[in-house]
Symmetry: C2
């Protein structure tokens, strides 16, 4: 398998965690988002959205991090990242999507670029925008975790919820978001940092890290 | 089943289409987003993200439209909205997520409200923002559909891709986005408009339509 990745992309980071948790070997192909390598013709053929990640498996080009997580779960079921119970699966997917649909899309590089280049936002305004959507989103995630008493988001094994949460917390910390209103999130983050599958997926561990 | 819905919410519209395609009966409970009913305490208990839709099934509160579509597919498999082949499933989910993660989150009500109230954008700037993300997104969707020769996004039966595409096109048309660069999208939209499951899910057909 080959993963088109950018060290700082939290969508690629989700897939790296899942591949590691499942013990799947893969090669990393870096796509430098700040240098706009995602817009090059060769990459656009693989990924018409010109985003990362793209996973190549069995010569197929697979897009969108959550779709890739579902694919990995169906194709390589060992070390399951979703339980069997349908209601639990729905709650875990909803948690993952609250990150992937409600927080991350508002704060990724292309949006911050638009705010700066097209709308001439100041750094202060961009930072407020960034923090606003994380704080709004984390408030809901923290409530969704209230009934969780395990070491991970849902129980004592990692799920796709953790694959999505850890990169989002990493980003929040990078932008100095105050996580004191989110003690459950913080404690799950700290726990995951002790696990090799998560550690090896971190931006600092990537071959393209700068 | 009970669906907490808002007639104009395209996330709720996705779920309404899926419920109709699967022939599942449900009651609609309107949540008026412009009147901020989603922020009322009673609703926040069901949906801590204070968004629609929420689906109640077997006394469980299910959040996030794509998670609800996956739940419906697993719990009520008749009239499948995903094929069996793993690569096809991945491509269909990626298409749905390109809408749910890359287009819709940037253009929903709470974001347009932030652009207006916090950043004092003019109507012209808001409209440019709106059109920008739809046009960017549709460019990629149109490419993803190039190999598709069926009446729907992927073949000749509806999938979760169509459940997501039709509400997004409805929104684009409402905001007068030029769809001439997207002939495949337009033709699939026109086909779906002839099908009762899609028609009955439209905003105009909802009990809370204004």
């Amino acid at each position: 398998m080959k993963l088109y990745s950018y060290f700082r992309s939290s969508a690629a980071y989700r897939v790296r965690i899942a591949l590691n948790l499942k013990g799947l070997d893969y090669a990393t192909q870096a796509v430098h988002l700040v240098k706009n390598e995602q817009q090059q013709a060769e990459y656009s053929v693989l990924n018409p959205s010109q985003l990362v990640p793209t996973l190549i498996d069995e010569e197929q080009s697979l897009l969108q991090s959550l779709s890739i997580l579902e694919y990995l779960e169906e194709r390589y079921p060992a070390t399951a990242l979703l339980p069997k119970n349908l209601i639990e699966r729905a709650k875990i997917r909803a948690f993952a999507q609250a990150i992937a649909c409600d927080i991350h899309p508002l704060n990724n590089l292309r949006v911050l670029k638009y705010l700066q280049d097209e709308l001439s936002l100041t750094n202060e305004q961009k930072s407020q925008w960034y923090q606003h959507w994380i704080l709004e989103g984390f408030k809901s995630l923290e409530v969704q975790l209230q009934r969780s008493n395990g070491q991970f988001c849902f129980g004592n094994s990692a799920t796709i919820a953790d694959c999505c949460l850890i990169p989002q917390v990493y980003n929040a910390k990078r932008f100095k978001v105050d996580l004191s209103p989110s003690p459950k999130i913080e404690s799950i983050y700290q726990h995951c940092l002790t696990i090799p599958a998560f550690l090896h997926a971190a931006p600092e561990q990537q071959p393209d890290w700068e």
